[in-house]
Amino acid sequence: MHLGVSESMRECEYSQISTRSSTPMETPYKKRTPKKRKWESFPGRNKFYCDGRIMMAKQTGVFYLTLVLILVTCGLFFTFDCQFLALKLTPAIPVIGGVLFLFVLGTLLRTSFSDPGVLPRATPDEAADLERQIDVANGSTGYRPPPRTKEVVINGQTVKLKYCFTCKIFRPPRASHCSLCDNCVERFDHHCPWVGNCVGRRNYRFFYMFILSLSFLTIFIFAFVITHIILRSHQNGFLKALKESPVVVCFFSVWSIVGLSGFHTYLISSNQTTNEDIKGSWSSKRGKDNHNPYSHGNIFTNCCAALCGPLPPSLIDRRGFIQSDTPQLAPPTNGITMYGATQSQQSHMCDQDQCIQSTKFVLQAAATPLLQQQSSEPVILTASPENGGSLPGRTSLTLAGPCTSLPLGQPTPPTSTPSLSCHEATDIHPLQEPLAHHHFLTPEEVPSPPGMLPCGSPMGHSHTMQASFFNPASQDSLHEDSVRGLVKLSSV
């Protein structure tokens, strides 16, 4: 090391003790706490198994249903139909069926268990640096700045990058925040409850292989079950043959799965995500020059890029050990970002807690009829009660800092527009459960009934409230908490 003067300085100083050598003089807390892996303090709402090797969403019930359906259908097929068909037609049938079944299972597990491309949250220093840049850009007044977006030109198309308040980053293009998993995911496609995980950059090809192979499998089983019935009905009656086969399950799933595969084939060939397609981001209806900047031009290249492109590694390092010795800059003293809580490397108090605490504080403050002007207060709340003057002394406060949950711009929800069901239904059989599930989960998650939100208030921020009504808890759980807080406030 060529540190010059510091070398001699170092020699005179207190000698550093390596943790590898164990001396009693070492800081005791370091020895006592066992090394934790990073997945144990992961800030999102994912569940981890096998010591961080497996990563899934919080709600996994539907995934088990998928597994059961596949296993039962294939089990019935192999038990009841294969013997007959192998003898009557060819033994290749159960072999091919078996191969398809294994492939389906493999891709399903791979989709469900892998990291979809989660973006780790910003370190405190990064977040502070971004805040500073935004303050500088906005003239750093005490007033809460407008929602944070950055525009970037990609291949001649202007794309808006939005700031994620939960993850404290500007989302890369095509990334979106999943409200169910509470993570930003790269190239976010959708959150699939059937596989129990988000579908994003790292597992999209597995997902596509899964639904493609599942379509082949269901068509295969369906076809041979019908063949079996027909052949049997020559021997016995038709109804008796029908009883012994898994035809009903197959019939419904064939249409939905095949339709879904067709839809995703279209998406892959045009290099779009489900999210973009539903929002019509690249449709020519938005503007004359609106085009998809990510498309490679021809279908073949798009398909190859999506399916055979390089597989990026996971960015969240689930199984790494938490390092507690990395130095940090001191927390910034501007009131906007930090409210009370001290910054620690493994922050025990996540943003959500901060927001809840600060909301509670404000509610308590609002209970006493004080008119608080925002000035130096770090957290201030906008309240516009529907019943006019019931709140004594209108508390006009604006929400700031980690509770900035009512941006004027529309945050990007994974899927939330009601028009999507029409889009899907035209292509696919109406018994389409899976897609409906994909898209309506987000609004279902919203706890606060829309009717309670104040409307038509003279306050300047009322339209943000209405915007939040539309996308109530889009990607931030902070939204939910602050909206709940506001609702409580307005009902006082």
């Binding site: 003067v5 207190y14 790269e186 800059l329």
Partner: protein, 170 residues
């Protein structure tokens, strides 16, 4: 906890040794500069080559730009869609992705090269100037974090709070 007040406490905390982390014990962390991603060519990994003002007094512009350009080239190589990546993709699909249990992907190989390159750059160029580059993979490939250190004992500097707004030019 260490890190909150970087001025005085660095020396009193026991930490693991690493060649480059020794830098931290004799110098205090003054500031961090973040080189953001350049999305003008899409979602491929590329960092901005704009020279940050905080580094003006610390390192020559050309050296910095060389480092960033080399990193960008490495990432472009990792994400290149061409014959080799197709072959790897098809082979992987054919073996139901089990092949990755024995073999590492091209991306991972390039990431290892990048890690080595960054370490080499740190040792040769950045550490002598009191700077330290953090591998972008540790920051979610969002930023290249360059930590600026000041020799302890010279100037009452500060912890991050005062130098956060200003540059570290002395």
């Amino acid at each position: 906890m260490q890190g909150l007040v970087p001025t005085a406490t660095d020396g009193n905390m026991a930490t693991e040794f690493h060649n480059l982390q020794e830098l931290r014990h004799s110098a205090s962390l003054a500031n961090k500069v973040f080189i953001q991603r350049d999305y003008s060519e899409g979602t491929t990994c590329k960092f901005q080559t704009k020279f940050p003002s905080e580094l003006e007094s610390r390192i020559e512009r050309t050296l910095f730009e060389d480092t960033v350009k080399t990193l960008n080239n490495y990432y472009a190589e990792a994400e290149k869609i061409g014959g080799q990546s197709y072959l790897e993709g098809c082979l992987a699909c054919a073996t139901a992705y089990l092949i990755f249990l024995c073999m590492e992907t091209r991306y991972e190989k390039v990431l290892k090269k990048i890690a080595k390159y960054i370490q080499e750059q740190n040792e040769k160029i950045y550490a002598p100037r009191g700077l330290l580059i953090t591998d972008p993979i540790e920051r979610g490939m969002r930023v290249i974090e360059i930590s600026i250190y000041e020799d302890r004992g010279s100037s009452g500097s500060s912890s991050g709070s005062s130098s956060v707004s200003g540059s570290t030019a002395r």
